[in-house]
Amino acid sequence: MTLAIDAHGLKKSFGDTLAVDGVDLTVRGGTVYGVLGPNGAGKTTTIRMLATLLTPDAGSASILGYDIVREADAVRGLVSLTGQLASVDEDLTGRENLILIGRLLGLRGGAAKRRASELLAAFGLSDAAGKLVKHFSGGMRRRLDIAASIVVTPQLMFLDEPTTGLDPRSRNQVWGIIRALVAEGTTILLCTQYLEEADRLADRIAVIDRGRVIAEGTPSELKASVGSGALRVRLLDPDQRDAAAHVLERELGEVVLEADPAALSVSCASGDRAAETVAELSRGGIRVAGFSLAQPSLDEVFLALTGTTAQAAADESTDRDKQEQPA
């Protein structure tokens, strides 16, 4: 079977910034492929090359068998892009946006209008259809953006951080839409900063950092390589953090002190053990403001894979950018 995406050694630099530094990706049709990385890792640049918006400096890639440079036009006929910046027109209404895309894709007058109405209804946007998009909420805008990407159902869809900045409810709506797309056979390349998102939706994940793929595999493989999960505790009183760290270390093992002076986390696989440990903290007179048992965060994946935190990697990439821009 032809691969949905087959990329080898993609490179792209902007001036002195090496944004993408030799990315290989192999994505099978009908699957969701997650690309996970911190700010500045090169996710958007990779997507923009694959969607034929940027020409790679080196390397090659084909989408469903078509070369992204030589056969860019054929590629455009198979894919659609939901960019990181909302790729809808703010100065038009929701309905006009969908009619616009429909007509550009070859739907004629009435058909474009009917398609717009159908999508607005399916995405819960009928009530807001006549409002200008600049007055939409973030969640509505995202849904409209995805609706615009399936005015004609693509074989491959690029989604660049579709839930960044959304509240949990809107995020879940977007996840529902993605699941529906996959169920109907669309292949999805999903860029995200959230491991949880990649974990829930993706069949395979590539972790990228500074333009390179540093790990690749199924979500379980990836998590296994990082560790099971983490108990994260926030204290009412930051002064008690050392005491809390002592208890957690005794009960569960090596403790990570987070940037928040009242928070700390420790790797922990079992809910029962986590509950006992939190109880142990209270017994010791340590006041807990909140706690969660979460999957490893992107920070932890990063820590495990690179030895630095995602935040540090992002900061470093920002620093690189700053140096390049003349004051």
Partner: protein, 283 residues
């Protein structure tokens, strides 16, 4: 608080919604691609929709021309030619040319503003004729040129302008000016893609169009000028355009002038349209 999101939120998109989304996905098959014309006209429609939502945008193509007409007729009119009505017959075609050509700078400004928006990435990822977004927005802008031109001519007639070739002559003159403006707009869309900010485009644009307009026969008789300037004024396409527009309105246009104007417009389009398209694809 570091409490994990509750799993119940997962039902935010109900099963029914998800089913509707799935139906929407399967209920469409890919139609044949839009033709070049249809894609370009669709982008023109997009431009019209923006005007519909923000009609104030039309102020610059209506107020400015009105100001020009009134100012030139009453402030400078008497002084230069002796009588207002006579002067109006001379100056109105020139004001038409000047106002419409000034408006072309805004095509570049608007494109530069558009580029900062995410929707451009979607347009560029669509399987459409590459220049369609650009041709389309210039078609939309041409409608603005027509509005500006109509305002000028109608106001002129109210103030006493009596063109020899009547309505038909005016329509022909307006058509010629708009065609030339369409060609010239490509220069400014190219600028709009090269320069970094809308303001830079505006400044550079007017820096080019001001001297070109004033070093034409738009407002002065060339033979009152020093020889070197006169030579330039004579070959300036804007002079030829304004002579042709005046001729069409009076009914005594030289065919050669019209041909030159159309050739310059076609030449500008032939050079700057591919350049703009390439820059648009790369940015």
């Amino acid at each position: 608080m570091s409490i994990a999101p509750t799993p119940t939120a997962d039902t935010a998109l109900t099963d029914a919604d998800e089913a509707a989304v799935r139906t929407a996905i399967t209920s469409i098959s890919r139609p044949p691609r839009a033709s070049r014309t249809s894609a370009a006209l669709t982008f023109g429609w997009r431009g019209m929709l923006k005007v519909k939502h923000v009609p104030e945008q039309l102020l610059d193509v209506t107020i400015t021309p009105v100001m020009f007409v009134v100012m030139f007729t009453y402030l400078f009119g008497g002084a230069i030619a002796g009588s207002t009505a006579e002067y109006l017959n001379y100056i109105l075609p020139a004001i038409l040319v000047m106002s419409v050509l000034f408006t072309t700078v805004y095509s570049g400004v608007a494109l530069n503003t558009d580029l900062t928006k995410g929707v451009v990435d979607r347009f560029r990822s669509l399987p459409i004729w590459r220049p369609a977004p650009l041709v389309g927005s210039l078609i939309g802008d041409s409608v603005r040129y027509v509005i500006a031109g109509t305002v000028i001519i109608v106001l002129g007639v109210i103030l006493g302008f009596r063109p020899g070739a009547g309505v038909l002559g005016c329509v022909a003159a307006l058509g010629l000016v708009v065609l030339f403006a369409f060609g010239l707009s490509w220069v400014f869309t190219t600028l709009g893609l090269i320069l970094r900010s809308p303001n830079a485009v505006m400044n550079a644009g007017f820096m080019g169009i001001f001297p070109l307009t004033f070093l034409s026969n738009v407002f002065v008789e060339p033979d009152t000028l020093p020889a070197a300037l006169e030579a330039f004024v004579d070959v300036n396409p804007i002079s030829i355009l304004s002579t042709a527009a005046r001729g069409l309105m009076e009914g005594d246009a030289a065919a050669a002038d019209i041909v030159i104007v159309l050739a310059v417009a076609a030449g500008l389009t032939a050079v700057f349209m591919p350049l703009t398209t390439r820059l648009y694809a790369k940015r």
